[in-house]
């Protein structure tokens, strides 16, 4: 394996050639916000929160799917990036209906945390107030599409880890939504094993257990790398 040397925020670093900028940054405690990325699932570069700047290039690249290059100089926290990241969060708030005060995930939500961490203390964009459906047909779980940020973590965990591929994404742009089977009610799904992995990886209050009230839905994202390591060492 060959190694690359490069810089992140003026820090001289080296890493294996197939490492991503995000991996290296995390190893060195350099904060890059992420939402769709989850350790243990394949990265998809969907949410754009992890965008970083490469010196000499005007294009921003997603750190979760970009491999390090020899001589590369990465900037992770420029004013331009901070502005775009706040904008991404504001757009997610505008598109969904995120009333944290009455959400099952209040206080345990990746989106809520990122808003705070990135300094989003109000929204400059108008709210769309779309009325999106809630599917509570499953006997144990429910999905509130108003809280879904379309990160596709549920889709990936269901396919890559559970092997059921119950979840998928339908439509384009503002009409996109995650669906179960061929857009059947979740409770009628023939492929869903009711394992609950999607609930645990969902970063927001979109997927939750029915028994949970406001602020009670604490997710266990950490089970994934554990599961993966156990499988690999078997």
């Amino acid at each position: 394996m060959s190694f690359k040397t490069f810089k992140i925020d003026d820090m001289d670093l080296s890493a294996a050639e197939d490492d991503t900028i995000l991996q290296v940054a995390r190893e060195h405690d350099i904060f890059i916000p992420t939402l769709c990325f989850l350790e243990g699932l394949s990265p998809v570069g969907a949410c754009r929160l992890c965008l970083v700047e490469i010196k000499g290039s005007s294009k921003l690249v997603p750190a979760c799917v970009t491999q390090v290059q020899e001589g590369m100089e990465v900037l992770t926290n420029s004013e331009r990036l901070q502005k775009y990241r706040r904008m991404v969060i504001e757009m997610l708030f505008s598109e969904g209906n995120h009333i944290c005060a009455v959400c099952v995930s209040n206080g345990h939500c990746d989106l809520q945390y990122l808003a705070q961490r990135l300094g989003v203390d109000h929204n400059e964009l108008p709210y769309l107030h779309q009325q999106k459906p809630v599917d509570a047909s499953h006997y144990r779980f429910a999905i509130d599409h108003n809280r879904c940020v379309l990160c596709t973590r549920c889709v990936r965990v269901c396919d890559e880890i559970e092997g059921a591929h119950t979840w998928d994404v339908m439509s384009h742009g503002i009409d996109s939504q995650v669906i179960t089977d061929l857009m059947q009610p979740w409770g009628d799904s023939e492929t869903c094993t009711s394992c609950g992995k999607c609930i645990q990886v969902c970063p927001t209050g979109a997927l939750f257990k029915k028994s949970k009230a406001v602020a009670e839905m604490v997710k266990e994202h950490e089970f994934l790398p554990y599961l993966k390591t156990m499988r690999e060492t078997k």
């Binding site: 005060a101 109000h122 107030h129």
Partner: protein, 176 residues
Amino acid sequence: MSKATFATVWLDGCSGCHMSFLDIDEFLLDLADKIELVYSPLVDNKDFPEMVEVTLVEGAVSNADDYEKIQYIRQHTRTLISLGDCAVTGNVPSMRNPFFVDEVIDRAYNENVTINPQVPHIGVPELRPWVVPVHTIVPVDVYVPGCPPSAALIKHVLTELLEGRKPDLSDIARFG
């Protein structure tokens, strides 16, 4: 030393932010030495003064009265603060926005009422079609998210303001 003039107003919110404000406990005593509360649901004054140093706004803008009031208050306030999620985002009151006002009124005053259903007309301001955050109507100087913002956070905001600094809460206050 002359005291700084403060006001608080209550638009479409649950009064929880005002409760949280009162929760600053003994700091209220310090505050009493430094500020004069010239207009608030907590004091008797009926008219908003000519000019107020700091106004804390609880609640979203939901009806004709909120809409008039907030514009008047902005013109007569130096530093306007959106206090709490309803003022900052619309929060729970804005959950009526996906519906038409007529539907909402019908639901509240007819559909779910068994005895003598009627829609109140006299002495109540008309609902606006959408519940909106304060800053979409008038410029806001400081945002204090939270439902409600904690007493500690409110204390921090007030302390900063009294020291003549603009509080930066961007990474200490969160929604919800």
